[in-house]
């Protein structure tokens, strides 16, 4: 069955075994695929049920599976074990050190790149062509970077698994939308208000919920996320129900210039530029970049303060924290509230950017993506979370660009529909490859002689 096997070079010590594996797997695959793929029921012209025989197709698929198994056994697994042995032996303290330095250089370079990115894009593809790259990639990714960094405080530092983070994102978005439309307040006034309201919701949720630990906490926060969404759908008088709220005012450049086409102080008009929404997108890009950097800056400062150390200590051992006189309930609440606050900031930005909010934007999937970003990035690591956001959100956006695949798979092929499949596959691969996320080392917050990175093996994930 494994026809390919014969064409592969022979002579390796494992090849006999690999061939056997391949044949066995192909037989099992055929046993499964035979009935599933090989026999297909269909209706004929007379509306009778007939069986189509496609055993040939099943055989071809089984052969592919068998060949894949052969390749795995003969080449991939030996290579992986050899590599694993090498890395295990090679990871020393010096190695960790150089990795940390590399990460630091990476973050400085990345930051510089982020600031010149819109300029770079405009100079490459022109003003009008830049919209897609700045908005779909830049702004979209940065929103998730910010959300990831916000949730990183709750999950990564304090070790509290919050599956309902999107609720605070929704509170921020609806706060801005409702207050801007009903009270005509500016974005710059409402940004802190949205943050405070989200933090307030964090506290309200936190009081009853933070007595729970581990799985129970995860389930209740998940439920809270759903409750907020259901309230938004059903309380029509307040939130407009599932129709959502539209024509939310745009952000202004501190009231000096507007990005509304009709406004007299329209940015493009004042500077005699061709009318384009690209300027607004670039403005939004820098706005979310600064908001995300604010999140990062505050988080890094908090880590060096007693509250940040208490969060990490809480993640390591809650009982020990209490024996040292730390009020664990308050400490958890602050983590929850501060994480929620950044979610609220991001939410109000999201509402201003979209100009439209509806409960559809705040489904559980969003929470799951943000949690995935934090876990994938390496819990507690800022750079890791940013990289994970780029990989996850940038990756899914990139799938939209793969229309050339239609030439291979036919015109019906829509790469977008395989998003979730590829997403899941990528997560499994990354978790096998790096079980503790992209950046698994921890940077100590204080040192006596020399800052040494702490290996991720010793850092606990928290359980409550």
């Amino acid at each position: 069955m494994s026809t390919q096997a014969k064409s592969l070079p022979q002579g390796g010590p494992d090849f006999g075994q690999a061939l056997k594996d391949g044949v066995i797997v192909a037989i099992i695959a055929f046993a499964l695929l035979g009935p599933l793929v090989g026999l297909r029921t269909d209706q004929n012209m007379a509306n009778e049920l007939i069986i189509q025989n496609r055993l040939g197709l099943a055989a071809i698929l089984s052969a592919i599976v068998g060949a894949g198994r052969f390749l795995l056994s003969a080449f991939v697994y030996p290579w992986l074990t050899a590599r694993g042995r090498k890395t295990k032996a090679a990871v020393t303290l010096a190695e960790l050190e150089t990795r940390a330095t590399r990460a630091r250089h990476l973050s400085i370079g990345g930051l510089a790149f982020l600031f010149v990115y819109p300029v770079l894009i405009i100079s490459l593809v022109g003003v009008q062509g830049s919209i897609k790259w700045v908005d779909n990639f830049g702004v979209q990714i940065l929103i998730y970077v910010m959300l990831g960094w916000g949730l990183n405080i709750v999950i990564g530092l304090a070790g509290l698994l919050d599956l309902g983070y999107v609720a605070f994102y929704a509170v921020g978005a609806y706060s801005y939308a409702l207050l801007a439309i009903n009270f005509h307040l500016s974005f710059w006034v409402l940004l802190p208000v949205a943050g405070i309201l989200a933090a307030f919701w964090g506290l309200i949720l936190g009081f009853p919920v933070l007595r729970l630990r581990g799985d129970y906490l995860a389930i209740v926060t998940l439920a809270f996320g759903e409750i907020i969404r259901l309230v938004l759908i059903n309380w029509k008088a307040f939130s407009g129900g599932s129709a959502g709220i539209s024509s939310i005012p745009k952000v202004t450049l501190f009231g000096l210039y507007s990005f509304d086409v009709s406004a007299p102080n329209n940015f493009a008009k004042v500077f005699h530029l061709a009318a384009s929404s690209a300027y607004y997108k670039v403005f939004l890009y820098y706005l979310i970049l600064l908001l995300a950097l604010l999140t990062a800056f505050v988080t890094m400062r908090l880590r060096r303060l007693p509250i940040g150390r208490a969060w990490e200590a809480l993640r390591e051992d809650e009982v020990a924290c209490r024996s040292l006189g730390i009020n664990t309930t308050n400490t958890k609440l602050t983590a929850f509230a501060i994480g929620a606050m950044f979610g609220g900031f991001a939410g109000s930005f999201f509402a201003a950017r979209q100009g439209f909010v509806s409960p559809e934007s705040f489904i559980f999937m969003e929470s799951a993506v943000i949690v995935a970003i934090v876990v994938l990035g390496g819990m507690g690591s800022m750079i890791g979370v940013a990289l994970a956001a780029v990989a996850m959100i940038g990756g899914t956006e990139l799938l939209r660009e793969l229309s050339f695949l239609k030439a291979v798979f036919g015109n019906d092929f829509n790469p977008d529909q395989y998003r979730m499949l590829l997403f899941g596959l990528a997560m499994v691969i990354i978790m096998v490859w790096k079980p503790r996320g992209f950046v698994s080392v921890r940077q100590p917050t204080a040192f006596l002689f020399r800052r040494k990175t702490v290996s991720g093996d010793l850092v606990k994930e928290g359980h409550g």
Binding site: V298, R301, L302, L305, P306, I307, R309, A310, E312, A313, E316, D317, V319, A320, C321, R322, S323, L324, G325, I326, N327, T328, T334, R442, P444, T445, A446, F447, L448, F449, R450, R451, K452, V454, S455, L458, V459, K460
Partner: protein
């Protein structure tokens, strides 16, 4: 008992009165009364399952006792009733620090960070409840420097200064025990409760531990209450020994008095094979119906 007043009678830092702790039908601690003298090293001993750790958990607020009163008098002369306080207040206000039977260090944090977390409450005030600290105003930097100096003092004392920047989880077992004691001391306690500090230590490490505890009492004026099975620690350094069996106090006095108490010998210290009968006979004479084996439940389970 001699008539002269001992420290624990005249000047008690902690007085436990009629402490009873029931878990459902199981009586883990039964009407226990004892005192810890100021500046004393008091050992709480007893066979496995005697309720020692339960007493600790009651004193440090991890358990709410069923009945009883525990009054703590720190050096500043204030009075705290521990049975009314949640665990973190016991550590913060009543100045009682503790260690755990199974070491509970923050293993992913460095030694220095472990000792800084222990100074959370004063540092929290110094950082203006975080708000001023985030903005970078106020004297937080200077206070943090002081906290690091204090951590350094304790690292010097336990001989781990060279490893200050290593993660606590990388330390060998004995060093982890010492670090846990140093971490408890960084909270500035008046009473230090140690749950089996010498468990798993070799004789040399045990001797070092004795020196450390004696120096804590001498230099820092902290009273120590410890649970211990290692008799070289108990008899070597303690001033006062309280013996528990099945949740009830069976002896209370100086190490010499308890060492010679036949009930203690039978219950805890163990007897040579040939002495068993002799002692049982002696016990029968003294206590009438002797001492029957009661079923002992494992009431020491620590709350996770």
């Amino acid at each position: 008992m001699t008539t002269s007043l001992r420290t624990w009678d005249s000047d008690a830092v902690l007085a436990v009165e009629h402490l009873t702790m029931r878990f459902g039908g199981l009586v883990a601690v039964n009407d226990l009364t004892f005192s810890v003298g100021r500046g004393d090293i008091t050992a709480l001993i007893g066979p496995n399952g005697a309720g020692k750790t339960t007493v600790f958990n009651c004193i440090t607020g991890f358990y709410k006792p069923t009945t009883g009163m525990m009054s703590m008098r720190p050096k500043d002369g204030s009075l705290h009733l521990l049975e009314r306080m949640p665990d973190f207040i016991v550590a913060r206000k009543a100045k009682v620090a503790r260690t755990f039977q199974n070491i509970r260090l923050f293993s992913g944090m460095t030694l220095l960070e472990n000792l800084l977390v222990a100074q959370h409450n004063p540092l929290m005030i110094a950082s203006g409840m975080t708000i001023l600290g985030v903005l970078g105003i106020g004297g937080y930097k200077a206070k943090e420097k002081e906290a690091i100096d204090r951590a350094r003092y304790w690292l010097d004392k336990i001989g781990l200064t060279a490893r200050a920047d290593d993660p606590a989880g990388d330390l060998p077992y004995g060093a982890q025990r010492r670090l846990e004691i140093a971490r408890a001391m960084c909270t500035g306690p008046d009473l230090l409760c140690l749950d089996e500090p010498a468990a798993g230590l070799n004789p040399r490490e045990s001797a070092e531990l004795n020196d450390l505890l004696l120096s804590i009492r001498r230099d820092d004026g902290t009273s120590i209450l410890l649970i211990e099975h290692d008799m070289s620690v108990v008899m070597g350094i303690s001033d006062h020994v309280v013996v528990l069996e099945y949740g009830t106090k069976i002896a209370d006095g100086t190490p010499n008095e308890t060492r010679n108490d036949p009930r203690v010998i039978a219950a805890y210290l163990g007897v040579e094979d040939e002495e068993v009968e002799e002692i049982e006979q002696e016990l029968d004479e003294q206590f009438g119906d002797g001492h029957d084996e009661q079923p002992a439940g494992d009431n020491e389970g620590e709350r996770a």
